[in-house]
Point group: C2
Chain length 81, copies 2
């Protein structure tokens, strides 16, 4: 089983990296770019035989405790069986 | 229009960050984690009125020239109209 985890800054938190990229792209002539937000992306492979519920529970724990900082970041989980 | 860009290391390239995360998770007791690959994730907002074809062409150029290093990375593009 595979899972994808997307970690981005909370909408209420300033994303200076994303803003810098957007400004740079505009400066390079890509004026059609209105905004950019940057985040982290994880592809996780789980061992055989784990149930969907157990996988989801474990990934939720990993995403909230290890892969993201809940104070400023939020995550989205996609299970790909 | 919105787009998501996923940038990951090429499969042929070692991903030390991903391996370190996987080992750390196993050490924390998450033994169900077989492998982890880490990448970058971008949410891009495009200005109104751009056509789907123009948006795709511009994003392909941005993803390959700015957001990723084609020597060691590959990208995947998702257009969300």
């Amino acid at each position: 089983m595979k899972a994808h985890v997307y970690v981005t800054m909370k909408k209420t938190v300033l994303d200076p990296q994303g803003q810098t990229i957007a400004r740079a792209l505009n400066g390079m002539g890509h004026t059609g770019i209105a905004a950019v937000r940057q985040g982290k992306y994880f592809e996780i492979e789980l061992a055989e035989g784990i149930s969907l519920e157990a996988a989801k529970a474990e990934l939720d724990q990993i995403a909230s405790e290890v892969l993201s900082n809940p104070v400023i970041e939020e995550y989205r989980l996609e299970l790909i069986s």
